[in-house]
Symmetry: C2
Subunit: 178 residues, 2 copies
């Protein structure tokens, strides 16, 4: 079977009932396994955010790293990793945020960003936007300016793009709950 | 201060006493923040493993993803993510291994690799080699053939390269305990 690389949807696998019953999980691993598809996704993300003139990308572990690292090279900008607590060795800034059940916490290095640096936050998937919003707040606490956020996949029903409107969200592929 | 990009050591920060007293942590975040340095690291990793003729790279979350993703594009090969339990949505293969204290478990998708596929395992740092050895075992359980493993940093005192000798380890930067 020939899969047309220029339709990146062919490289997203839908897995029903993961991580729990009733959820359709959009799986990016087929896209990662085909370098022409990964390259195209990275090029399209670059095209989508280039006019935001980012000086840095920021991305949260783990899946965000898979797209942010090649995208940083494509755009020739620095990459700031955002991590779970206890992973970054130098002085950090911390932001905690609410999840559906409980809270989660993310950290970035305190001195990574020049004051006012233009930052685009990158992740593989936009759902409710909670994690990305937390990343944006971290960047702001660190003195950066969030000028955009970019996703491979957007789950439109969860209205994350509305929540993140002030951060100019863009996505390559939109999925409804179908 | 001008930092010479061609000496990648200039972009590794040593943080003493992290994650615990007496440990010198080699921090890759300055390298990530400078795209010329990240690009050079990726190009040198590609040069170091190209003659192993990999068809896929495999990398464990989270820091391994930062190098494996751009390296997969540089070599034009697929990328197989190796993850903590419960993260991959489809049928998985699991491997548990011993750490200094306790055990850890990694998973990859069962059907990611064609039988006999040539795989290079990539990570940011080689310490004792326990995690990378677990990744190699996973690839073998999945029917792949580990033809190499590649690291940005090697902590030579911990003798991971000897442990992984059968997997042809290569590293860009070697650090003793200094």
């Amino acid at each position: 079977m020939i899969q047309h690389v220029d339709d990146l949807r062919n490289f997203i696998r839908t897995v029903p009932n993961f991580p729990k019953p009733g959820i359709l999980f959009r799986d990016i691993t087929p896209l990662l396994a085909e370098p022409a598809a990964l390259r195209l996704a990275v090029e399209r993300l670059a095209d989508a955010i280039r006019d935001r003139n980012p000086q840095f990308l920021a991305a949260a572990e783990a899946r965000g790293f898979l797209f942010a690292a090649p995208l940083a090279l494509q755009l020739n900008v620095g990459l700031i990793p955002i991590r779970k607590p206890g992973k970054l060795p130098s002085a950090t800034i911390t932001h905690s945020y609410s999840l559906e059940y409980g809270t989660d916490t993310l950290q970035m290095h305190r001195d990574d960003l020049p004051k006012g640096a233009r930052v685009v936050v990158v992740d593989d998937l936009l759902a409710t936007g909670g994690t990305v919003e937390a990343c944006c707040r971290l960047v702001e606490k660190a003195g950066g300016q969030v000028v955009g956020c970019a996703f491979v996949i957007e789950l439109t029903e969860l209205k994350g793009a509305q929540r993140l409107e002030m951060f100019h969200p863009v996505s390559l592929l939109q999925f409804e709950g179908e």
